[in-house]
């Protein structure tokens, strides 16, 4: 079984104990600093730093690998395109920076409970209340986004299995249409459940 994005791994490492706000700031800082990663050697250094951070957080290797496995296709396609258009050095830099940032974002969700992350987001967005924005809603949207990753992945798995069982040839239309319809149905049911759970109170 794969470990989906957003899966919190309980632990007491330094990264687990770090306040969620600090981790989010770190992630933003990493995104800014990533512009400085312009050579394959710097990509190597960034990857080494990410590996060290995963080790410091004591994230099992299988879980860490699962975070980037789903992106392999994207990495290969993007890497090939960059290789043809801009050369091998640029391809390594673009793909490397993308993978490093995604891995760091995963590290934040792996070491932070969603509730703590939401509290931080809601607190940070508190001043927006004066402009009519509801910070609780922003937090809820974030939670639903994280939760939806596993829901949509589950629906996609069910559709693939059903198609295999019925001998349907895989294709964009035969896969995307049922996935979209089932995702929308799920969204309807979830909306009703949120109302029943008093989310509009």
């Amino acid at each position: 079984m794969t470990a989906p994005l957003g899966l919190y791994v309980p632990g007491d490492s330094v990264l687990h104990r770090l306040p969620p706000g600090a981790k989010l700031l770190g992630l933003i800082a990493a995104a800014v600093v990533s512009h400085w990663i312009s050579t394959p050697a710097r990509v190597g250094a960034a990857v080494a730093l990410v590996v060290l951070l995963f080790a410091a957080a004591r994230i099992p290797a299988r879980v860490a690998f699962d975070q980037v496995r789903g992106l392999l296709l994207l990495v290969v396609v993007l890497g090939a395109f960059q290789w043809i258009v801009a050369g091998p050095s640029k391809a390594v830099v673009v793909v490397g920076v993308l993978a490093v940032l995604i891995a760091l974002a995963s590290l934040v969700t792996l070491t932070t409970r969603t509730t703590d992350l939401l509290e931080t987001v809601v607190r940070t967005c508190g001043p927006l209340r004066r402009t009519g924005v509801d910070p609780e809603r922003i937090g809820l949207m974030l939670a639903l986004g994280i939760r939806s990753v596993s829901v949509v992945a589950g629906l996609a798995g069910e559709i693939r299995e059903a198609q295999l069982a019925r001998g349907v040839r895989p294709g964009v239309r035969t896969f995307a249409v049922p996935l979209l319809v089932r995702s929308l149905r799920h969204a309807d049911a979830l909306g009703e459940a949120l109302v029943a759970r008093g989310v509009d109170d």
Binding site: L7, T115, A143, R147, V151, L194, R197
Partner: protein, 230 residues
């Protein structure tokens, strides 16, 4: 006990230019501790259930829960009435088990410690204590339904409405959920196809083509329901 009143309730909806009458002329008062609702698919049971929590407001007539009109006081009603859906996957909002139960308490404005204590006690009561940090979507079907129950019951509602809580479950999980429902102190209205669930209920309604066609004890009501489809 919470008193539920239906006065001249009918409900219809229109899709693609066609109007479908889902419920017709329902007048009743429910104040028993355990009420069951049975009927064929499409008979109007789920719409009936949704009216108890103000998720659906009747197109004519009135539904009152402890005197509160569902058309005007939906929020106050939802604070008293918990709702459990057929598919727990639709109800689970947060990634982990404990977080999903804690989500129900957000409107209660409790402190961190009190929230954690109530979540831990509820998870223990529903046999989920060892799964607190477990991803909710990786639970078994029965555990997910127990989580859905726990997430509702942590708010201590006066009335719990269950819409086919055992339909998607196998026999062992169905038994676990049935046992959990039996042990509830709260008043329960259960919509179900699982006739065994109704054994110790006080009153059972049979819904047929949008009407309450029979209203009696479980044994009588089940016998009538079976006669309808003989």
């Amino acid at each position: 006990m919470t008193t539920i009143e239906f006065n001249g309730v009918s409900h219809s909806y229109t899709t693609a230019g066609t109007t479908k009458q889902v419920l017709r002329d329902i007048d009743l008062c429910l104040d028993e501790r355990r009420v069951g609702v049975i009927g064929a698919n499409g008979s109007g049971k789920s719409t009936f259930a949704r009216m108890l929590n103000a998720l659906v407001v009747p197109t004519s007539g009135r539904v009152r829960v402890d005197g509160l009109d569902t058309a005007r006081e939906a929020r106050a009603i939802r604070r008293r009435v918990g709702f459990c859906f057929t598919n727990p996957d639709s109800q689970i909002v947060m990634p982990t088990v404990a977080e999903d139960v804690a989500f129900s308490l957000r409107r209660h404005r409790l402190g961190r410690t009190e929230t954690a204590a109530r979540v831990a006690a509820t998870l223990a009561a529903y046999g989920l204590a060892g799964h607190a940090d477990h991803p909710a979507h990786l639970l078994s079907g029965g555990q997910k339904q127990l989580l859905a129950l726990a997430a509702v019951m942590v708010t201590e509602p006066d009335l719990l409405v269950l819409d086919e809580p055992t339909t998607l479950l196998d026999l062992p999980n169905s038994r676990r959920v049935r046992a959990a429902i039996s042990a509830l102190d709260a008043q329960v209205v259960a919509i179900t196809h699982d006739l065994d669930l109704l054994a110790d209920f006080d009153r059972v309604l049979v819904v047929h083509e949008g009407r309450i066609c029979y209203d009696s004890t479980p044994a009588d009501a089940i016998a009538h329901y079976k006669k309808l489809w003989r």
